[in-house]
């Protein structure tokens, strides 16, 4: 469903994403991990066609994003890393606006929006302006807006940031449910527990380069190949992540902490 070919982005002299080749299949939940500034958000933005790559291309369900951005955008849902919203609109108005842009038929859109608001416990405050919403509440509105038109591919940039445990759980349940229905989910996250428990495959990116991709076993092998892991069999995703993205830095930190 998602395929990138040699996807590259430069900001001035800085290579933010370096020849990314990825392929994610239908119904798969793909986790995108990497340290801050690794290039996750930049990659996602290029994949959904809101940032023009310096090189390479992206196909979503066989649609070339650069050639037909409108068609590509009509089958994707997107949750950005920052839940910026029109502060003077109410949650209800925002969802109706999004439904309009996706040309969702009227009755259907209203029912769907009501259900989503209800699930996220926002229905009683749906007539309030978003300017008065808390960070987590906004995040929920954004997630609801991404689900409204039943996209085939969901891109989520750190979707659970700011959510309370119950809501985070709800999001996870929703994603699993959607994946079982064949929706492809591509999400970046810093919460390794989510990546480990939910994702079919994980990609780890650092300084714009894809270090490793695959399920836990693949990652273990990659880590083992990279250096001397003491117990490759027993390691958690956290260990693997730190090993792959620069264990030496981490070792220095712990030395510093120990004095």
């Amino acid at each position: 469903m998602i395929t990138t070919y040699d996807l590259t982005k430069r900001f001035g002299d800085m290579l933010a994403v370096d020849s990314l080749d990825l392929s994610v299949g239908a119904g798969e939940i793909f986790g995108f991990l990497g340290p801050n500034g690794a290039g996750k958000t930049t990659s996602i933005n290029m994949m959904i066609g809101i940032l023009t790559p310096t090189g390479g291309r992206v196909e979503l369900a066989e649609i070339d994003v650069a050639k037909d951005p409108t068609k590509a955008k009509s089958i994707t849902g997107y949750v950005p890393d920052q839940p910026n919203l029109y502060e003077k609109l109410t949650a209800w108005e925002f969802l109706m606006f999004v439904a309009n842009l996706h040309k969702v038929e009227k009755g259907r859109a209203e029912k769907k929006a009501k259900n989503l608001l209800e699930m996220f416990e926002l229905i009683d405050r749906a007539d309030e302006q978003l300017g008065g919403y808390s960070h987590g509440m906004r995040q929920k509105v954004v997630i609801a807006s991404a689900l409204l038109h039943e996209p085939k591919i969901l891109f989520m940039d750190e979707p659970t940031v700011g959510l309370d445990p119950a809501s985070a759980r709800l999001v996870k349940d929703i994603l699993r449910e959607l994946a079982s229905e064949g929706v492809t989910v591509f999400m970046s996250t810093h919460i390794l527990e989510i990546a480990e428990r939910m994702c079919d495959r994980v990609g780890i990116i650092q300084k714009g380069r894809l270090l490793a991709v695959g399920n836990m076993d693949d990652l273990r092998q990659a880590a083992a190949a990279k250096g001397a892991m003491k117990h490759p069999e027993a390691s958690t995703l956290e260990d693997l992540f730190i090993e792959l993205t620069g264990g030496s830095d981490y070792a220095e930190v712990s030395r510093y902490l120990e004095g």
Binding site: T52, K88, H102, D173
Partner: protein, 597 residues
């Protein structure tokens, strides 16, 4: 004090960097070229206005060389009209600048969380507001004064004193509005009441300034243009009886060093400087008591009633397993949600338009500018009707009709060009949503175009109707004036929209905690271009009224001339639309795809 300077330093650095994005796509040379082009347009406008003023002043001195007293009286009256114009322009654009800078800057949250005294923060923000207000006014006003100065042979010190006078005028206005806003924010309990009071009283203040001007103008006219009387009135230079008005101080300050007027320090610079500095000091003094509470109050959002929500969540969660927000979930449980016009038609264009309109209607600043536009227009209609009746229209009836029509168009475009200049910028609040959705650039452009035209057409309709039923000036019937007006407004709107598409300012936030970094030069250029556009359209449309006064053209048949007028007008409208649309759509396309420009 040093903290104030520190904050100002950061602001200055931000302002310098605002134009240059870190993105490498657009080359440095291109950016510089664009900036140079902007300044060139600005300079052209300034020179244009300055030259006009120079010509008037030079003619005046030459024609009335025999009676210098009259020249001086006319000169003082013109100057005082101009300085009143400065205050009127402040009222139109400056109030929201002060409010937004003081209460909606994005960095306030951070600054107030540090141990910086509120006074330092407010002082810095007030200076920023002052500079913004000055930048919006100086390129228009100062060239006119310089033109007059050059045309009438004023001493060098005049140029310095007049600039000083403008600066003090801006300081006075900024500080007084700040005091007022701060008090309202502190004292009035609810957000809605605050907005009503603030908008209402500022509009009344504006009306007061304007009505006073009408009153003055009327008195001046009733004096007649009798030279002897004028000379008599000139004894006090016509301003003696209004010594207590700030705009009179401004004029006198500007003319303080021009010896033949003989104004004294005590009636000019002294009151101006003392009140301006005093008002500034009062703002700082007041800020320790009133700013913090008012600022946090500004961030409140009106809440609806809150109902308890029981076990609904549980039930919802239980059903997730079956279907994500499927059709079977919420029947009969959901409370009624308010109807929204966004949903009236399922179409993308309507969706964007209705969304923008919904946001704008909740924007107090918009209502303020509508009120101000109506008051100002009422004043102009009144003034025009009055002035024309007393003058002799006679043979110029044809041309009069055109002038009346295009003055109305000009009045209407001011509100439209303001709107057009932020149509696209206002989506910066939630740009990801616009970008990530399947919208064609053309659809987006059309709905923004509708929005850009809306205020101008509304004001124009009101004005045209008012003119038809109230005034006895010669004018076109509505079936001519309305279409011509709408066509002109739409073209000027599309040009404003084009400027916003070329350089959208996504750091302005319509509401809440954004930094309202107005792009002064963009606003000025777009305003200047729309003034020039109105002028061109007027010249084209009025061709049939004036062609006979040029000897080469005098032989043209009247009907042919009318045809030429209509064709030329239509051609300009169409050409303007085509060019503006294609440039704007190109930029919108890049914006939607996230290409940097």
């Amino acid at each position: 004090m040093d903290r104030t300077l520190l904050i100002l330093g950061v602001e200055l650095r931000q302002a310098f960097r605002a134009g240059s994005s870190a993105d490498g796509k657009s080359s440095r040379a291109k950016r510089i070229a664009r900036n140079i082009m902007g300044y060139a347009v600005l300079l052209t406008i300034a020179v244009f206005m300055g030259r006009g003023a120079y010509n008037i002043a030079a003619n005046l001195s030459e024609e009335l060389a025999a009676c210098p007293n009259v020249v001086r009286t006319v000169w003082v009256n013109l100057m005082s009209g101009l300085s009143l114009g400065i205050f009127i322009m402040f009222f139109m654009t400056g109030v929201s600048v002060v409010y937004q800078t003081l209460y909606e800057s994005g960095d306030l949250k951070f600054l107030l969380s540090t141990p910086t005294p509120a006074g330092s923060v407010v002082a810095a923000k007030l200076i920023v507001a002052l500079v913004r207000n000055l930048m919006a006014i100086v390129p228009f006003m100062y060239p006119v004064w310089v033109g007059y100065g050059a045309g009438s042979g004023a001493p060098v010190s005049f140029y310095i004193m007049s600039l000083l006078a403008i600066v003090f005028a801006a300081l006075l206005f900024t500080a007084v509005v700040a005091i007022f806003v701060m008090l309202v924010m502190r004292i009035i309990p609810t957000q809605k009441m605050r907005q009503i009071i603030m908008i209402g009283s500022l509009a009344v203040g504006f009306a007061f300034v304007v009505v006073f001007q009408v009153f003055n103008a009327k008195m001046a006219r009733s004096n007649g243009l009798d030279t002897a009387q004028l000379a008599q009135a000139a004894q006090g230079w016509g301003l003696g009886n209004t010594w207590y008005l700030p705009h009179v101080w401004v004029v006198k300050t500007a003319l303080l060093t021009t010896s033949e007027f003989g104004f004294s320090f005590a009636e000019s610079l002294l009151p101006l400087a003392v009140t301006a500095v005093g008002a500034f000091a009062s703002v700082i003094g007041l800020s320790t008591k009133a700013f913090l509470a008012g600022w946090s109050a500004a961030r409140e959002v009106e809440k609806g009633r809150k109902k308890p929500n029981g076990r609904r969540r549980r039930r919802a969660l239980l059903r997730i397993g079956r279907k994500v927000a499927g059709d079977d979930l919420a029947e009969g449980v959901s409370p009624a949600l308010s109807d929204t016009m966004i949903r009236r038609h399922v179409s993308q264009g309507w969706g964007i338009f209705a969304k923008d309109l919904t946001i704008l209607m909740r924007q107090p600043v918009i209502w303020y500018s509508v009120l101000v536009a109506l008051v100002a227009s009422g004043f102009y209609i009144y003034n025009m009707s009055y002035g024309m009746r007393s003058g002799d229209v006679g043979s110029m009836v044809g041309l009069m009709k055109d002038i009346v029509l295009f003055v109305l168009v000009m009045m209407s475009t001011i509100s439209s060009s303001q709107m057009a200049g932020m149509c696209i910028s206002m989506d910066g609040e939630s740009l990801w949503a616009i970008r990530s959705m399947p919208i064609e650039p053309g659809t987006y452009y059309n709905s923004k175009m509708a929005l850009a035209m809306l205020p101008g057409s509304a004001v124009f309709t009101v004005l045209a109707l008012a003119m038809t039923f109230v005034s006895d000036l010669p004018q076109y019937p509505l079936y001519v004036s309305l279409p011509v007006g709408y066509a002109a407004i739409s073209m000027l709107g599309s040009i404003g929209l084009m400027f916003d598409a070329i350089k959208p300012n996504f750091t302005i936030r319509m509401s809440g905690a954004g930094g309202p970094k107005r792009d002064a030069s963009k606003a000025l250029i777009s305003m200047g271009v729309s003034l020039v556009g109105t002028f061109l359209l007027g010249v084209a449309f009025a061709f049939k009224g004036y062609y006979s006064s040029f000897s080469i053209l005098a032989g043209i048949d009247r009907q042919v001339a009318t045809c030429i007028s209509v064709i030329a007008f239509t051609a300009i409208v169409v050409a303007g639309h085509v060019v503006a649309r294609s440039i704007a759509i190109g930029n919108i396309k890049r914006m939607l795809r996230g290409e940097s420009n």
